[in-house]
Structures are given as structure tokens and as C-alpha cells.
Amino acid sequence: MARTDPKKDVVIIGLGWTGAILGMEMAKEGLEVLALERGEDRDTIPDFQYPGVIDELKYAIRYGFMQKPRNSTLTIRHGVNDTALPYRHLGSFLPGNGVGGAGIHWNGQTWRTQPAELRLKSYVEENFGADIIPEDMQIQDWGVTYEELEPYYDRFEKLLGISGKAGNLNGEIQEGGNPFEGPRSNEYPNPPLANTYDSELFAEAARKKGLHPFPRPAANASRAYTNEYDMQLGPCNYCGFCERFGCLNYSKASPQTCVLGALKRMPNFSYKTKAEVLKIEKAADGKTAKGVTYFDDNTGEEVFQPADLVLVCAYSLHNVHLLLLSEIGQPYDPATGEGVVGRNYCYQMTGGTSLYFKDKKFNPFIGTGAEGMSIDDYSISQIDFAKEGFIGGSYITGGHTGGRPIGQLSTPPGTPKWGKGWKEAAGAWYNHKMSIGSHGSNMSYRDCYLDLDPTYKDTHGRPLMRMTFNWKPNDIKMTQFMKGKIEDVAASMNPDQMASGYKKEGSQYDTTVYQSTHNVGGAVMGTDPKTSVINRYLQSWDCHNVFVMGASAFPQNTQYNPTGPLGALAYWAVDALRNDYLKNPRPLM
């Protein structure tokens, strides 16, 4: 039988980005806080230290820091009539595992959503009319506006010491920044990173086309920096082993470098590793949770951990899985359109063009996770959806993250995959390639969702979660539009050769090729319990002492990477907890 441990005020499920922030802020309230993390403990020393950590095979190819499907995975299918099969080894997305979560091995590209994205349905209806929304598309407003979130974006950017250049300061457009961003109250805490050669070439070409390049906001520090928790970052040295690796240099913002050192010193905070939460336990009243049950891998037993407040910070996919297993909220049924848990799962539409120049040496091994020059001229707020025939947008970047030869070397089109031809092309082109990428939105659809798999089980005997997902014509049209724009800029740079890779008509979701770990939706936020799992304060509509963090809250995916908005939302929820809920626990809406 399960052991029962002494009650805590707050239990946090997962100690990645959102768990670390919530842990710190709840501990600052004087509450007894316990974080349960399923993976191992990790810190810069010894886990990310030079030179052991810059091992491409171990970390980038064999996924050393990431979730092991043997312990945790899901099943995937393209359509509601297909049989889903297990995601047996990692490919398309790489969830984190262990203290720091995916926050240790992310790139650090840290964006804000555009104001229009947070009220996308209203924006589309007001500007283009409701009838341009395809029949099976389920986009909605987030229930929080950009103006409301702005201070929290600002705080999150300062927590991470983001390097960047403001483009809109309190409504005034700033030279060299992103003129299409929402108004920000402050400049970025650190100046932009220095550009690499490819970024510079792209920016120059984009400027000549009348576009507006700006440095991509980066969680790779451009100078020495100390944040609000007295955590310190040192300048990034462009080691080229950034995403998929922990930072060897205290330069990449991560839960470790920005929060955990300070959090571990709080006497009322504690955490356990190898402690996988199996279920959130509902109280007899059915309106609250009474704690969580977890498997303690250190002692090999199940433990019931009572708590007054349960914060779900397990990464978007695991958040939804836990809600489904715990029967908190009605599971979504695509046939009737009823239910909410698992509804509106979305991904990220990406594509890119490679350019090969005989006479240019890029030194691709000199790179960092988020450096690059971007344009937002084809962002959501800049496109006439009625004219173009799709809803969505992308940001476009010239830049690179590293030149690791197993995973990041590519050869021009027409090169054989092996043999002398491959070998000679690998040597001839390794140093001569750059790329321009499109990072685009993905809308929510009636039949893209998450539920429990009827067949496959995990090591604890629980059903795996099942993902039903495929690409839709709207989003394919969007990425094809970006292809045209990117190829136009690329051609103006006169490369010797060029190769494009974008989803096209008929493209099906490929689970084997890395695209992004930007799995969003499934426990979406909103103001209507019929179409959302959590209210605008990230509080469960069903159990008011359960709050669900992370990108599972996004009603559809934005055109940007998710951590900026999910970090801002975490601080937004902290304020609702601190200023309102803790004083008088109840449904806030």
C-alpha cells in the first residue's frame, strides 16, 4: 500500500522552467513547498562541465539528457480512424527529463506573442470576417491580452537576461529592433549577441528587399548579468553545443542558472528526484485535489503526498496526460466536439532553405542556440488572411546554432547519400552552407487532439497518451507562402546552389524527423469552461486548487517558440495566486 507523507502547502509536479519559477514564488510566500521531479538531479557541475558535455553522439544523437521512451512516451496517429503506434524512440520532439526539464537543453529563442495572437479569433473576425475560418478550425482567444501580460513578459525576460533589441518601446518604433512587436515597457536587459557571418549576410539581403531585420531575442547572455534572484550569467562563447546540451559556461538561461541555485537555499523549499507523479488525487468534494500519488524510485514504493495546492508543471504533453489519468476535466471527444481535456493540440510549422556558397567560409561550429537575424514582415499581424487564403504567419531567420558534423552537416541537392560522392561533398561544403528558416504558426483543428490510448501502457501500467495529429491545408498554404518569400531573398544572395524543405500539399506529419519541441494545447486557457480546461489564471475549472502551467495552455500555436509566453503566463498566474487565491482559495472565475 502507498506510504503517506506529511502534508505540504504546495506540491509542484515537475522541476523545469515553470516548476522552478512557481517553486521560488510560492516559497517566497513562506509556504512549505515540495517539488517532485521524475528524472535525475542535474547541475552545471558536474553534468554540464567541459569537455564531457560537448559530446555530440551522447547528447545530440542519443538524447542523453532527454526523456527515455522506455519510461515515458505516447502513441501517435494521423487521423481518427487510424491505429496509433508508440513513439518508440525520439525524433520529431524531445521532451526533457530531470531537474531543469527541457529548460537545460533548449536553444533559448525567447519571444513574445504578438497582441493579435492572444485574441486571434476576435482579430480574424474583426478584420476579415468569421467566414474565412475553415469549418474544422477551432481557434479561440486566450482570455488574457497582450497589455495584461506585458509586465510579466518583461519580468521573464529579466529573469533570463535576454539579449536583444527592442523594436517598439511604449509605442515608439526603435531602429534596429522588431517594428512589428507589441509595445514593450523596457529595452531588453542585455544588448544583442554579436552576429555570425550568415546572419549578417541574411540581414543585408533582407534590408535590400525593404524588410526589417533585427536580432533574434536570445537567452544566451551577451554580457555578465545578475537577475532578481541574484543568479548570475556570464557571456556566451558560441561553443556550438547549445540546444540538446546543458551549458558549460553559465551563459544559457536555464532553471539551474536563473532560479534553482537561489531556490535551493530557501529553507521552506525541498525537492525529490526520481519521483514520478502518477496521479493527482481528487478530494471527496470532487471540487478540489487533496494531493498527488507518486512513485518513489529511490525506495520503490508509491507515496501519497497530501497538499493544499497542486501546481502542474510537467511539460505540456505530460500536463495533459496527468489530467486525463486523474479525471480532472471532461476528456475531449472529436465526434461530438464536447469535452475539453486534450482538445486543440497543436504543433509548429517549420521549413527552411539552405544556401551553398563556394567562396564563403561560415565556420558553422561557431554558433549559439538563439543567435540569428530575424524578420517579422510576414508575421500574423502583417498578412492579409483574406487575400492570401490562410490564417497564420512566421518569423524568418538567417543564422545557425552549430556545426556539429553528425547532425548538422548537409550537402547540396543531388549529392549521393553515401560513397565517394557523399564524402567529397561533405568535405567540400561543410564550411560553405548557411540557411534561412521559417518558424510558423499552427492552428487548432477539430480532429487534432490528445486522449488515452486504448492499447499501450507505461511501466506503471497506466495507458499511454495518444496524439492524433496531421498537417492541414491552411498551415501548408502558410508555409508555402513563406517558401516563396524566403527563396526570393535567398536568390538575391546569389548562392551557387540552393535547396528548400517545406511541407507541401499532401505532406503528412513525420514523427521521425526533428521539427521542434513545441507541443502545445490540450489543456487550454480561456474564459469559457466549455472550450477550456483552465481559466485565464491557469486555474482548473474543475478543481480550484489545481493550476496548470506550460504551453498546454495555448489555444492554438503562435508563430513563435513557446517559452516566452509560458514564462510570462507563469508569472501572471503567480500574481493571481499571491494577490488573490492564497488569501481566499476558491474558483477565481
Binding site: I54, R70, T83, P86, N195, Y197, C239, I406, A428, T511
Partner: protein
């Protein structure tokens, strides 16, 4: 980190020399260090493969990344040793993969690996099928074919023209991926001997510090590769 057997070690080198001799050695080209060669590949005792299997792996690697033309080949860089060690280790055992049934090995490839076999088992089961196919088509085992016929046989395997059960359909993809991994992975895994593949393409390996080089556009980076054990190419 312990010294790797058969590899020249900077520590061992210094241990065995008087200080003066060690200093003098600094002036000697780094290339000189690799003179203390490992036993030839032919004498390597595989830990996973049988001798017959290893003969096939040697021959296949030699075609996938051949010696001729610019750059080192897979044998010179000891890629077969890498593959043997990988199959003996966690990769070969699918130690991290979800391997619970039911299995549907003929599923849509976009849904990923669905065979009940581990990568090591796929190699073991597929090599004899392919060898038999070579016998049937050409009257010889793969290693005994001439280079051109070997290439044609590998192409047939790549294109799915060698009849393999669906459980084994990833065989070619595994060999090709593992061969390239062995070519470019850190030498501590057994391949990329002498960091020759890194040196060839111009990757400085485990240096990981480039601050003042970020803004030096279109210049040749001057330092040679280093590996995780601290050797310099």
C-alpha cells in the same frame, strides 16, 4: 578519464619522458603522436559481431565511405570498431526505446520504428539475408564482390529491392547512420580515428570557445581539432 587502450595518451607520453624530452616534443608535429598506432583493424576482436558479420561490416563501411577521393575512408577512421561497440552497448540493445507490443513492423514509416527487434538484432538477422541475396544474384558473398557490384548491391538494399521482412526494413538506414556517426563521433567511441574526419571537414571538435572568432567573417579558423580526451589532431 582513463586512457583509452591502444591510443597514444598525452599523459602516458609525459609520464614516460624526462621533462626536457617532453618539452622538446612540443615542437614535434602533433601528427607524430598518432604514429603509435593501434593494432590493424583486421586484428580487432569484435565484441558484438561474429567474425563473418564483422567481415561484412568492414566491406560495407568501405563502400559507404570509401578510401578513394578526398578525405579519409571509413576503414582508415576505424568506423567498424565504432559500430561494434555501439551494438554491444545501449544503442544496440534499444535500452532507451519503448519496446512493448503489440508491434506493427509494416506500419507507415512516418510513424517511426515499429519492429520488435533491437538494432543489434536487426543487424544479426539481416546480414545473412543480404549475404544470401548477394550469393543468389552474384554467386559470391558481399565482401568478395568487386567494388562496383558491392555498390549496386548496397543500392538495391537501400531502395528496398532486397527482400527483407518488415521487421528488418531499417537495416540499411542503421548501417548508413551508424557509419556516419562513427566517422564523426568523438574518437573515444572507437571511430573517427586520429580525428581525421573532423580535420578533413574542418570541424575543431571539442574546443567549444570561439568568442573572438564570431565576427571574423570568411576567415579560416586556425586551430586544429581537439577531442574530449584532450588529444590534439
Amino acid at each position: 578519464m582513463s586512457d583509452l587502450p591502444g591510443r597514444p595518451s598525452r599523459r602516458g607520453f609525459l609520464k614516460g619522458s624526462a621533462a626536457g624530452a617532453a618539452l622538446a616534443a612540443v615542437a614535434v608535429s602533433a601528427q607524430a603522436q598518432t604514429k603509435e598506432e593501434l593494432p590493424p583493424l583486421e586484428q580487432y576482436k569484435p565484441s558484438y559481431f561474429t567474425p563473418e558479420e564483422f567481415a561484412f561490416i568492414m566491406a560495407a563501411c568501405d563502400r559507404l565511405i570509401p578510401a578513394d577521393g578526398d578525405g579519409p575512408g571509413a576503414l582508415e577512421t576505424r568506423v567498424p570498431v565504432f559500430i561494434d561497440r555501439q551494438l554491444e552497448g545501449d544503442f544496440g540493445k534499444a535500452a532507451d526505446w519503448y519496446m512493448e507490443g503489440p508491434f506493427q513492423p509494416d506500419a507507415d514509416p512516418l510513424l517511426g520504428y515499429q519492429s520488435p527487434l533491437t538494432p543489434a538484432q536487426v543487424y544479426r538477422a539481416a546480414i545473412p539475408v543480404f549475404e544470401q541475396w548477394c550469393q543468389d544474384q552474384h554467386g559470391k558473398g558481399f565482401a568478395d564482390l568487386d567494388a562496383q557490384t558491392q555498390d549496386a548491391a548496397l543500392s538495391a538494399l537501400e531502395k528496398g529491392n532486397v527482400p527483407l521482412k518488415p521487421e528488418l526494413r531499417d537495416f540499411f538506414a542503421f548501417i548508413l547512420q551508424n557509419t556516419k556517426e562513427g566517422y564523426f563521433a568523438d574518437p573515444m567511441y572507437g571511430g573517427n580515428h586520429g580525428m581525421k574526419a573532423w580535420t578533413y571537414v574542418g570541424f575543431p571538435g571539442a574546443r567549444g570557445a570561439y568568442t573572438e572568432w564570431v565576427s571574423r567573417f570568411n576567415e579560416t579558423y586556425p586551430l586544429s581539432a581537439v577531442d574530449i580526451a584532450g588529444e590534439r589532431a
